[in-house]
Amino acid sequence: MANPVWHSLAGQHAVIQQLSHPETMTSPTHAWLFTGPPGSGRSMAARAFAQTLQCEQQEISQRGCGTCQACVTIAAGTHADVNIVTTEKVQYAIDDVRELVSDAHDRPSTGRWRIIIIEDADRMTERATNVLLKAIEEPPERTIWMLSAPSPADVLVTIRSRTRHINLVIPAVEDVAQLLVGRDGIEAELAHTCARASQSHVGVARWLARSPEARERRDMIVNLPMTVSSASAAVESADNLHKLVQDEAEASSSDRNAAERSSLLRSLGLTEDDTVPPKLRVHFRRLEDNQTARNRRAIHDALDRAMIDLSGVYRDLLVLHLSQDTQLINEHLRPHLTEYSAKVSAEHCLSSLEAINTARRRLAGNVPPLLALEAMLLAFIPRTRRHAPL
């Protein structure tokens, strides 16, 4: 049985075994690359590994206890020798990366190692990554880098060759459900539904299980292919979906934005009612720019999520065309889906999947989300019904 810090990593037995090997613990490699599909627990794995390396237990086999000072502070992201770097924007800024390089040269203060965890290393531009090259190749004696990315191909080949690669697998639905039941106290049947609906993405599964509104929103999205039957309905649904995503991003950020603004006001010695003097406006502009960038990322992520859910629906429809006994992603909608699959051809499902892919590519290319969604939803209308009389 693995030590406590590994418990929240669902279905990654091989990885846990490799990382908690005594030899790895005593003389770890200086740079690691954690890869795996989103939601498989890349950053969890990196943190847990950092915990086992820094754990205060004497006995090597006991390290990763989850209760000592080091383990607790790493879990909270406040350990003095463990920098956890993440971005809420679409991309890392090069200046943030430069700062890391100088941090890497500090000696550890309380722990055994200085550990720098970079989440979503794929969000680094090539220019930013190049800043890291030298630091990763020959870090100071007690510094360890941990990078995470969806796949090894997402980081530069020069980075890949300087790191030891740890690949996380897609966890089984069963494992994710068990984690939800055990850790978050979710009821078993709901946990299964959510684990399947999220396609084994642990974070999303937990979010769905905990929030009835999120489930409702998801159901609305997966029902779209079955409800869109005319051009006007498709355009209207695209508008609704776009608004839904925007509201979601807005709701999650508005409180935080206001709090950030008032804290900035306070640190500049102003009260809420003061007009900001022109000389200080630059600070507020910078804050607003940051918030806009964050908001863009939130919309981007929410749209991406919606696209994944939609491709899940067409995957299910294809499954129903090809065989009857494979598990569906949207098992809870099986009757609906079976009924609908009789009306559409497998070819239509494939072309719809292609439309979803095209829409994702377009979003990445900065096409207005509304336009990309309209083109996608119009492609969902089954051929026979598209010829409906005016």
Binding site: V367, L370, L378, A379, A388
Partner: protein, 332 residues
Amino acid sequence: MASPRRSKNSGASWRDVTVSPLILVQGGEEYIHTRVTDSVKAQLKKAEPDTEIHHLSAAEYQAGELQVLASPSLFGEKKLLVFDDMHKMTDAFVVDGLEYIQHENPDVTFLGLHGGGNRGKRLLDALKKAGQHIEAKPIKSDRDRIEFLQAEFREARRRIDTDALRALADAIGQNLGELAAAAHQLISDTQGTITEDTVEQYYGGRVQATAFKVADSALDGQLGPATALLRHALATGVQPVAITASFAMKARQVARVVDAKLSQGQLASALGMAPWQAQRIMATARNWTPVNIAGAIELIARADAEAKGQARDAAFAVERMVTKVAGMAGRH
């Protein structure tokens, strides 16, 4: 305006600005600001070549600057103080400005440029009362533009036919600076009366084309005019992405009505537009079937992605979209 002697504080025309200690130009037309500044500068330099000129921004004004600059100098040279951005003036500027009006220095010309709005109303009112006030309202209507051109030619003592004026205004469009530049080119390059033929020779074939006009004619199925408008729009600096954006908007509206079973009144409220706009969209939608408009939106989305970097030639991508969309309209 009929009386030959204008009272000092009326909204005088910017063309006959004269040097006086206090001048206020108010309004959003920046080109007029530039012209007034140039004219005042030229008049001062003519009278006194050593005039000192200071250009300052009222938006970054700090207390006391005005009094320092406007204080009498040892040799009594003339000075011109130009204050830009008065519509963003600081509070200190209002205070110092009001103070200065009380004790103006006759050797100094104070020229304030206010971009419109009401900021610093107290100071504006005081300036209007004490000095020359010049309106610089943005020129919007066609009639005003033609009047502007007429005055340009009159100032240069040149004759131009009415038809020629209209042709010139149509060809150049909204921007006052561009209108003036075109007028000055005709004035310096030609001799005698300017006729429509002269304008045709210089600016023939130029048409004002906006992205919306291109979208309107393409979705109405007018292939030829749409292509011509597109070429004009691209040639006069309309960005390809602006064209795909206006196509997307128009096609969205058409798709909303193409197979919706709503009355015209319901439609107008569902689309959030005025009844006449809804009617216009309904007329366009008659050219379209649901299948065709779906195809058109797909083409527009593709062209938008291409114009934003997925293709090497944005102009080509947009032109292909325009011809295909215009070709699809009206095909049932």
